[in-house]
Symmetry: C3
Subunit: 142 residues, 3 copies
């Protein structure tokens, strides 16, 4: 893919929490969908009772899925919202720490169960971030 | 706890550094208290000479405290400021890396000693984030 | 170093992606240089085919350089842009996860090869962040 640099205008700033038991990725996507947020930068702090994440095999062009029932703290998080198939899609990566502080991380999948979480969603307006299939990487990129 | 979504108005944007030897969590809280900042989203990059962090036992409803005198880089950070007991309270999670790059992380406690750090504090106005005890999780949530 | 707290004014909000094969740190710095961005807070999500990072030895005042040809996801990221030697300089720390989810992290060096990445650059205006040598830490601080 080629380089892309867009200038956005800050839109709404949401701050909130997900209910316990919520699917983290689906929950953020639903909150965006309900408010017609189609582009945003997202931060999440919290803990999960089930982690579902993935590693992208860069030459095999496939995700290797990982999961854990260990209760974890979210100790690193980066995410953004764009449109995929016409709906808000959260692309997020995160790091999880267990009771000894040991860390695992990856591309966050649907299926993560929130124990507690606080988020911020900073809407970006004036830009269209629409994911489409990229042959070179095998990823859905905007 | 139930879902909560608030729309905030961006307030002041602070950028700065803590002095060497400062307690990271207490330092950010003091900077906010001195400026009457009661809600914010916070980012910190830097290194610490002592790390103090915790894991929340989700069924036991207690924090398991961890600490390390290893000098670490801060390689992941998520945090926000709200009010707890009437004062600005920093809720932050972070990841620390040692000289081999190995990572540990958790809920950041008071007692972290800053070697060097740079921060941004993005104030959120128009919202009241006040922590109170939540029976379901055993945590102080807003 | 002493404490420093500045109030900035939000400037431009850029969102974009680096081309595959780009040097992550140099790429963000170039994008800033091309747009005269001299202070910013930066977020990056993505994956790399080569990682180059470092640990700062706090008493020896030297960086210990680490590198890996393992393909990694970026699962934690914190960064800011300031001026160093008259040019935009990205100070960033990050966490990388491999195919088992195992994490390493550190201070990001030039030489990281992007597989795919999405970034936001939030310009800070009204402040001058200029790095100069700090005797106490051995670091170039603003």
């Amino acid at each position: 893919m080629t380089e892309l640099v867009l200038e956005a205008t800050p839109g709404r700033t949401l701050v909130g929490r997900l209910a316990g038991g919520t699917d983290l990725v689906a929950g953020i996507e639903r909150i965006c969908a309900e408010r017609d947020i189609t582009a945003a930068w997202v931060g999440v702090i919290g803990a999960v009772s089930h982690a579902a994440y993935a590693y992208y095999h860069q030459t095999g062009h496939r995700y290797i899925e990982l999961a854990s029932d260990t209760h974890h703290e979210i100790v690193g998080f980066i995410g953004n919202v764009s449109l995929r198939d016409g709906r808000p899609f959260l692309h997020a990566h995160g790091t999880f720490a267990d009771e000894r502080g040991a860390c695992v991380g990856g591309h966050l999948l649907r299926g993560i169960t929130v124990f507690a979480s606080e988020f911020t969603i900073r809407e970006l307006t004036g830009v269209e971030l629409i994911r489409t299939f990229d042959e070179e990487t095998g990823l859905a990129l905007w």
